[in-house]
């Protein structure tokens, strides 16, 4: 039940925000903050209480209630280390998201209601072990995103919102198709992932897996920003209000990669075997392409948007290595990019754009931001350094592990991936240097340089930024805190079968 308390607190928050009278609408953010804090508290409690001793069960906190008998659907939630890590991530991002939208004064009730709905849906996905239930939570996330971006967004918001929604819906249509077909073909009258995975090799004929796997995997991976279906990510991220960019990059993209691992890969092992190389190649293209395109951007938020495509490429590559090293790296990278991506968007969207009203790198450079907004410059530097994968931050551990894991299965892909890593450093440093530490120009005076003094960075922003920076630093210095539960989860029948079976060939 402690797991369910995470999404229940979010949905309770939605109800409370909705019934708030109009006079008291500025309390909406407090309710949202409380709901987010409660969610993180429950997630952390579950994380700390996860028993990792050798004989302990891999799945803990099991709740199983029959729900819809007609289709054999049950309300089935539990967690292993992977789920718990992502639940904690969701909690952290939720709090940071609320803190960074503390200045939302236009229709705050609707804003925080949609925001908490997404949070609740995300919590739900990370703990569902019934395919139907998982899909329900997965879909809950889609519609609120549209309204948050279309109503509170910035640049080209209605276009960005609709594009993002269409991509998400197309992806989930593929997932829905594969889900319905899985039920029809399996004939076991159940959506229990463990039961289905148990039957996977016996019941699902290869001719079925060969199309069901890519449908399911790609359907989820669209949300994870797999190349060439990533184009929603930059436009969507840029159009979204800060908190929503943080959510999108921080947790929503992880929904895709997590579900691809949890559902597509465990249910269709033979399909995975057939499509593995294709996915690895797409992931590598994503790494390289995301980095190169980010190098050419003039808008700082687009740089961060494409960097998400780049980092999520690592996750997907790690997933298909199918060995413990690569997979644990993928999970670490999900966590790490969640934190770092959230932090980058927070700086760009809230600290910078809300004050300067521009995101053009050249215009920002002329403002001397490192002097005008030192805290923002400091935070962005930390985030950039973490994003580049400097040792000591979470990004380094994650990407290093993924690269080590893919050495054996995909040696050739390491060359483009290595180039991608170098370009990542290049675009990150370029963005950092040109927008924050540009030297004073001697030419004609730039009009953008003469600006009214910016509002100081608020306490809420500082708290949110510190929370995220501390997390990435903490994990970078002591990765064992995440690696141990991940490793413990790999012993479960779901994962164990996946790893051993395919890696031995």
């Amino acid at each position: 039940m402690i797991l369910n308390a995470t999404f229940l607190s979010a949905f309770l928050g939605v109800v409370l925000v909705l019934i708030l009278p109009r006079r008291a609408e500025h309390f909406a953010r407090w309710i949202a903050l409380l709901a987010a804090l409660a969610g993180l508290a429950f997630a952390l409690k579950a994380f700390v209480g996860y028993d990792q001793s050798a004989g302990a069960p891999h799945f803990q906190y099991v709740t199983r209630i029959p729900w819809i008998d007609a289709l054999g659907i049950s309300f089935f939630t539990q967690a292993d280390g992977i789920s718990l890590i992502l639940l904690v991530l969701t909690g952290i991002i939720a709090i940071a998201g609320v803190l960074f939208s503390w200045n939302v004064t236009r229709r705050p009730r609707a804003f925080f209601a949609f925001f908490l709905t997404i949070i609740g849906g995300v919590y739900g996905v990370f703990q569902s072990f019934d395919l139907f239930l998982l899909f329900v939570f997965y879909e809950i996330v889609i519609v609120p995103k549209y309204f948050l971006i279309a109503a509170w967004g910035s640049t080209n918001r209605e276009y960005g919102a609709m594009k993002l929604t269409i991509f998400s819906v197309a992806g989930s249509a593929l997932v829905l198709l594969a889900t319905v077909a899985t039920y029809a073909v399996s004939g076991v009258h159940s959506f229990d992932l463990l039961v289905l995975a148990d039957h996977a090799r016996v019941v699902f004929p290869p001719a079925f897996q060969i199309w069901a796997f890519p449908a399911m995997f790609l359907g989820f991976a669209v949300l994870a920003g797999i190349w060439p279906f990533h184009t929603w990510a930059p436009t969507g991220h840029v159009a979204a209000p800060t908190a929503v960019s943080m959510l999108l990059a921080g947790v929503v993209m992880k929904l895709g990669s997590y579900s691809a691992l949890r559902v597509a890969m465990t249910l269709f092992p033979q399909g995975l075997e057939q499509w593995r190389t294709v996915i690895a190649v797409l992931a590598t293209i994503g790494i390289l392409y995301g980095a190169l395109v980010a190098l050419a951007q003039r808008d700082l938020k687009f740089v961060v948007g494409y960097s998400s495509v780049n980092h999520m490429g690592f996750v997907l590559l790690g997933l298909v290595t199918l060995n413990t090293i690569g997979l644990s790296g993928a999970v670490l990278q999900m966590f790490s990019h969640g934190i770092i991506g959230g932090l980058l968007f927070a700086v760009v969207g809230r600290m910078i754009y809300d004050r300067t009203h521009t995101r053009e790198i050249s215009a920002l450079g002329a403002m001397g931001l490192s002097k005008a907004l030192p805290f923002a410059a400091f935070t962005f530097t930390v985030a950039s350094v973490a994003s580049m994968g400097l040792p000591g931050f979470s990004g380094f551990i994650a990407e290093f592990t993924i690269l080590s894991g893919s050495w054996k299965p995909f040696p050739l892909l390491l060359i483009p991936t290595g180039i991608g890593v170098v370009v990542t450093v290049a675009f990150t440093l370029r963005a950092l240097q040109r927008s924050f530490f540009a030297p004073k120009e001697d030419g004609p005076p730039n009009p953008a340089a003469h600006h009214p003094p910016f509002d100081p960075i608020t306490l809420a922003e500082k708290l949110g930024a510190c929370l995220l920076m501390a997390t990435t630093l903490g994990v970078g210095l002591y990765p064992k805190i995440l690696l141990d539960p991940i490793m413990h989860s790999f012993g479960s029948p779901l994962m164990h079968q996946l790893i051993r079976e395919v890696a031995s060939k």
């Binding site: 909705l18 729900w67 819809i68 008998d69 007609a70 289709l71 229709r107 609707a110 139907f132 899909f135 329900v136 879909e139 809950i140 889609i142 519609v143 549209y146 309204f147 279309a150 109503a151 209605e158 609709m162 929604t165 269409i166 819906v169 197309a170 989930s172 249509a173 829905l176 198709l177 319905v180 077909a181 039920y183 029809a184 073909v185 004939g187 004929p205 290869p206 001719a207 079925f208």
Partner: protein
């Protein structure tokens, strides 16, 4: 027929009789010169009669089958009669504030008459009775559609509905006469016994196809859908709500029953490029066309009622798809979905009628900024449209999921189930449908309102809220409706086992 049989019949049809009496009383009161002032009284009287009929139906009715299947009452029929009656009464509540100014009493009476027709339809297993009940429903609906005397759109819609409906009735009657000619009986249960012997009979097949054409008109399936957009747009909104909900429920209920019973043996096959004659390929083609055309045409609509009409066509397609499963579970899924659909769509029409009254139209722009002027209504409309788009946790999602799953499961367990092509089409276009629902919701939630002031809640506000809540709750706990329905269908199919 002796007196005892009449009393028995009256007992069985007591709810319908109560409705007819109520309608006559309302008509009589409407003759009085001060009928305009009696509007609230007439509405209340109608509702009272309806509630009495519903409680009689719910509390006192017994299962029976008399006059050779002319009038039947079983658990399944009872559920559907209650649903239809409920939808009729919701329509009455919407009418209380409708643009219908003149002859209000007659308007209410006609709603009751069409409700009686639909209820009779849900309680018969006799081809002739099916035809008569359909006609009673349709003729009342024609008049209800053309009710706005000073609106040319309403007159045009009524005429169109009447002409196309008349032709469809001819098709239906011709089809039924062929079936009777081949089988020698008009009783559906007797047809069950005979139909295996007639499975390949060409004349029987022609009869079946013509019957399906007739029903295609009733449920607005492509290519027999031409009346729907005009009727939804031109008719008084309560009428459109009834056409979209009650008439659809009754139509799909009787269609499912006829397919399961009378035509059971002439199934045919509709696997991709392996068609074999029977009702299955006909349904599959109608389903595919309806899903395609309904969803694509809805994309370009600028009037919300017209948009709902095309969405209704698409939903007919989904439900026809469910019927192609030709299995008990599949029929249960369709019957479940049609109830959910009716609740959702009547709620959406409720919101539209409120907006229409305030802004004088139902164009997309008229919905601008509804979140500001009527936040409750906006939230309800969100629930209805998102449910129609099939997004969880609302009831529309589970309904579709159940229908698609059972259809696919019924069509084979191999790597490629035979109805896969249709399910792929349906899921793909269902994803497209979210686009046009979001366009409406964008006007509601994102666009700036034309006028700033907040309006006070409409009288039917609580009803719309209750409908929205039921759509949400049925999505979270579908068992509440699904389990009784499953039991009723099971009871029904087990009664079909031949002695």
């Amino acid at each position: 027929m002796n007196a005892e049989a009449y009393i028995h019949l009256l007992k069985l049809l007591a709810p319908e009789a109560i409705l007819v009496v109520t309608a006559l009383v309302v008509l009589g009161l409407g003759l009085s010169p001060s009928s305009e002032r009696m509007r609230p009284l007439l509405t209340r009287l109608t509702l009272f009669g309806g509630l009495v009929a519903a409680s009689v139906l719910y509390l006192f009715s017994k299962n029976a089958c008399i006059l050779n299947g002319m009038v039947v009452l079983d658990p399944l029929g009872r559920i559907f009669k209650l649903v239809i009656l409920g939808l009729g009464l919701i329509t009455v509540i919407f009418s209380a504030a409708s643009p219908v100014r003149r002859h209000y009493a007659e308007y209410l009476a006609l709603i009751l008459f069409s409700t009686v027709g639909m209820m009779l339809l849900a309680g018969t297993e006799e081809l002739l009775m099916i035809f008569l009940a359909l006609e009673l429903t349709s003729i009342s609906l024609y008049v209800l559609t053309a009710y706005l005397k000073d609106s040319t759109a309403s007159a045009e819609a009524g005429l169109k509905y009447f002409l196309i409906g008349g032709v469809s009735a001819a098709f239906l009657l011709f089809g039924l006469s062929l079936v009777y000619g081949v089988a020698g009986t008009t009783n559906l249960r007797a047809l069950v016994a005979i139909s295996p012997a007639l499975a390949g009979d060409p004349l029987m097949l022609v009869g079946i196809v013509l019957t399906l054409v007739g029903f295609g008109f009733k449920v607005a399936a492509v290519p027999f859908h031409l009346w729907a957009p005009d009727v939804y747009e031109g008719a008084p909104t309560p009428t459109a709500a009834l056409v979209a909900s009650g008439s659809k429920v009754a139509g799909f209920f009787i269609l499912a029953k006829m397919l399961a019973l009378g035509f059971g043996a002439s199934v045919g096959m509709a696997a991709w490029s392996q068609f074999r004659p029977g009702w299955l390929p006909v349904l599959a083609i109608m389903a595919a066309l309806s899903i395609l055309l309904g969803n694509l045409a809805a994309l370009v609509q600028s009037n919300v009622k017209r948009l709902l009409a095309y969405s209704a066509i698409a939903h007919s397609g989904y439900m026809l798809l469910g019927l192609t499963s030709a299995s008990e579970a599949g029929f249960t899924a369709v019957l479940f979905y049609v109830i959910i659909y009716a609740l959702t769509t009547i709620g959406a029409f409720g919101v539209v009628s409120v907006v229409e009254r305030r802004r004088g139209g139902s164009q997309l722009q008229d919905f601008d900024g509804l979140h500001k002027t009527a936040p409750g209504l906006a939230l309800c409309l969100l629930v209805f449209l998102i449910s129609l788009a099939g997004i969880p946790p609302l009831a529309g999602f589970f309904g579709k999921f159940y229908m698609f799953s059972e259809t696919l499961a019924a069509s084979g367990k191999g790597a490629n189930p035979s109805m896969l092509w249709l399910v792929v089409l349906a899921i793909a276009l269902n994803a497209v449908s979210l686009y046009y629902y979001l366009i409406v919701l964008k006007h509601v939630f994102v666009a700036k309102p034309a006028e700033e002031e907040r309006v006070k809640a409409p009288a039917c506000g609580p009803l719309i809220a209750a409908l929205a809540l039921s759509v949400l709750l049925l999505g979270l706990f579908p068992n509440v409706l699904l389990e009784p329905l499953r039991a009723a269908v099971k009871n029904y199919t087990s009664s079909l086992v031949l002695p």
